[in-house]
């Protein structure tokens, strides 16, 4: 394998991953729309994937890449189920406001 160009240091990847994850968390906590919240979750998953890949590359081990595949598979399945649920919720409630979907609570 040819040597990599003057490589990007690991810490940059991790910093990007942390920023993406924090954005995901913030979106999950503060956005009201279910779709946005759902996307925020995807964002967090991908932030984690990024750090997996970065470590895998850095440590020259394949495990991290395998993990990220797992995560992608699960995320795909989750997207299918989650979007199905969201669709049904919207059909029944005509709203995607997260604070209004609280009939279980009371």
């Amino acid at each position: 394998m040819p040597p990599l160009p003057a490589s990007v240091p690991l810490s940059w990847y991790l910093l990007l991953s942390a920023v993406l994850f924090s954005l995901g968390v913030a979106g999950f906590l503060f956005r009201k729309n279910i779709i946005t919240v759902f996307m925020s979750i995807e964002l967090m998953l991908n932030a984690v994937n990024l750090s997996f890949i970065a470590f895998s590359y850095h440590l020259k081990q394949v495990d991290g890449q395998i993990f990220s595949f797992f995560v992608m598979v699960v995320a795909a399945a989750e997207a299918a189920v989650g979007l199905g649920i969201i669709l049904t919720v919207y059909k029944n409630r005509s709203t995607l406001e997260i604070d209004e979907i609280n009939s279980m609570k009371n």
């Binding site: 968390v25 999950f28 906590l29 997260i98 609280n102 609570k105």
Partner: protein, 622 residues
């Protein structure tokens, strides 16, 4: 073996049968069982005593003991269920079963119209059982069973009219005051176990007699004083006498049997039984004599002005019991027991006679509402006169014989005690004849139609009247003398007896003067000595003093400290406090459980930040 156990078991069987099936049986069946069981017991006493030679050769001086089984075995302490008969218990057995039988018969007439008929006789039989256990006991613990048992029956029978509050209160008072005495008795038993390793009469007295008289005086004094506390409770001496006058709330046969003739003399019996211990404790003897004398004087003065006929006789009983303790304290144990017997005759008669009077005038007990009954109920009148003569110490009656012996013994103990005793004898004669004159002479002041009682009631009265008059000729002191430590022989001085008799006669004459010859004198006297009269009428305010110093503090203390402070404050407060704290903490914590997924996520984020910060601060991140 004389099968002594049968003596108490007959009345116990009577109690069981009447208690279980008496409710559904007719009165005749209840009567037959109640009276029959006591009769069998009486006959068995006669049989056992004759087999021991009571009438012929004379009873042996040592006790006949029957050991049935070991009851308590603990280390060196061995307490058996043993019964015994000696001369002392033989006398008590005859009194208890004999007088008990008469009173049972009387009660079948007296209680004929009362509710709870079978219950009354069941309790009365139970009392007989416990009293006989008490008398037959061969050690202090068996005696204590009887002691407590008669206390229980006393409580049950005082409170027999349980729908009246004063009867229930009187029962509780008797029970609680007796607990104070039992506390002393228990401590005395513990001291005996510690010092002698046994509670057996034979062993303890053997050990005590083996000691020189001046040895171990301290421990003997302690034991004897504690026993006297017990006796003061049971036999109604200062300061524990207050329950006995109230005990008259019970039916009159109960007053006669339990609170005059038998149970209240248990304390005297117990101390006479323990005479071998008491001779080692001259201080305790003095205490017994002085307390007895003080009680005799105090209750005699109270008896002078009471208007309830049963109250008069109740205070008279307390006073006569004081006499008996005076005898015991003076070392004249035989004279004390002699007075127990004669007192059982004439006081039982007084109470039964009073019962007959009350029966005749329809339940009235106030002397001021009687009067003139002499012609209306002549048999009751004549028999009561016999009892009154006996208690006043008129010569040749039973009371004269025993009271003179006591007073002579008191004179040789300390002359001043004799003189106080003589004055008290005068007061005794006065109040007894006052009650007789108020009830039987003058004009009838009530509204009922007095009628003579049936033969089942007058029969026992007549038998007791004979005994009251002639009982003094039973050579009891001579019979009992070998049982007790010897008194120093003193030449009997005739003038001592003459003075005592004169005092009684003066009392009778004064009563005649005040209540028959010129009744205005009595009113004038009570007006002239108004303060004194009030003091006596209110019984020296002893009940009020006890209320203020003992009862109220306990009630208030229980209410404000134990109930409000300890129970509701501390215990409930702790439990409720723990509950409230749990609610508070839960209330704070439940805000976390909002059900809002994003708040959970927020907490998770905060938690991770906290963990990361902590790791950074502790240097786990490099």
């Amino acid at each position: 073996m004389h099968q002594l156990w049968l003596i108490p078991v007959f009345p116990l069987a009577g109690f069981a049968i009447n208690g279980l099936i008496g409710r559904k049986s007719s009165k005749n069946v209840v009567n037959a069982i109640a009276v029959g069981s006591v009769l069998l017991s009486f006959l068995w006493v006669l049989k056992a005593l004759s087999a021991m030679g009571l009438w012929g050769a004379g009873m042996p001086e040592e006790a006949h003991v029957e050991r049935y089984f070991t009851w308590i075995q603990s280390g060196n302490l061995n307490i058996g269920f043993d019964l015994a008969v000696d001369r002392l218990s033989a006398v008590m057995l005859l009194v208890v079963t004999g007088i008990g039988l008469l009173i049972h018969i009387y009660a079948t007439g007296y209680m004929a119209h009362e509710g709870g008929y079978y219950r009354f006789f069941a309790y009365l039989n139970l009392f007989m059982f416990f009293m006989l256990i008490l008398v037959l006991a061969a050690n202090y613990l068996i005696l204590f069973i009887g002691w407590e048992g008669v206390g229980l029956c006393s409580y049950l029978l005082i409170g027999f009219y349980f729908d009246k509050k004063f009867a229930g209160d009187a029962g509780k008072k008797a029970f609680i005051v007796n607990r104070v005495g039992d506390f002393g008795y228990s401590l005395a038993m513990f001291l005996l176990v510690i010092n002698f390793g046994s509670l057996d009469f034979g062993k303890v007295f053997e050990a005590a007699k083996a000691m020189p008289v001046d040895q171990g005086a301290g421990i003997f004094t302690a034991i004897c004083l504690l026993f006297f506390v017990g006796a003061a409770g049971k036999s109604a001496q200062i300061p524990l006498y207050v329950w006995l006058p109230d005990a008259m709330a019970g039916p009159t046969p109960v007053s006669a049997l339990i609170h005059a003739a038998t149970m209240v003399t248990a304390g005297i019996y117990m101390i006479a039984r323990s005479s071998a211990l008491f001779v080692h404790a001259p201080i305790a003897m003095d205490v017994v004599a002085i307390v007895g004398l003080a009680t005799a004087v105090m209750s005699a003065t109270i008896g002078l002005v009471q208007n309830d006929i049963k109250k008069v006789y109740a205070y008279s009983t307390v006073s006569q019991l004081g006499y008996m303790f005076l005898a015991l304290g003076s070392g004249a144990f035989a004279a004390g027991m002699f007075h127990v017997v004669t007192h059982a005759f004439f006081k039982a008669l007084l109470f039964l006679g009073a019962g007959s009077v009350i029966h005749a005038v329809g339940g009235e007990q106030d002397l001021r509402k009687m009067g003139g009954l002499r012609t209306k109920i002549p048999i009751t009148f004549l028999t009561i006169i016999c009892a009154a003569l006996a208690i006043s110490g008129v010569p040749f009656t039973s009371g004269a014989a025993s009271k003179d012996e006591i007073l002579v013994a008191a004179y040789h103990h300390a002359p001043w005690m004799y003189w106080v005793g003589v004055v008290t004898a005068g007061m005794t004669a006065f109040y007894v004849f006052r009650s007789v004159f108020m009830a039987f002479f003058g004009k009838y002041r009530g509204s009922a139609h007095p009628h003579e009682s049936p033969l089942v009631m007058t029969g026992p009265l007549m038998i007791l009247a004979v005994l009251s008059l002639a009982g003094g000729f039973i050579p009891l002191p001579h019979f009992l003398e070998p049982m007790f430590p010897k008194l120093a022989e003193e030449a009997p001085e005739k003038w001592l007896e003459y003075t005592a008799v004169a005092s009684g006669l003066i009392g009778i004459s004064l009563a005649y003067l005040f209540y028959v010859a010129s009744p205005k004198l009595a009113d004038a006297a009570s007006k002239n000595f108004n303060g004194l009269h009030k003091l006596l009428y209110h019984k020296y305010y002893v009940d009020e003093a006890y209320d203020a110093t003992v009862v109220e503090p306990i009630v208030q203390g229980s209410r404000s400290v134990l109930w409000k402070g300890f129970d509701s404050g501390l215990i409930d407060g702790t439990v409720n406090g723990i509950g409230y704290r749990a609610m508070n903490i839960g209330g704070a914590l439940r805000r976390l459980q909002s059900g809002n997924i994003r708040s959970y996520a927020g907490w998770v984020v905060l938690g991770s930040i906290a963990v990361i910060l902590a790791m950074g601060l502790t240097g786990s991140i490099r």
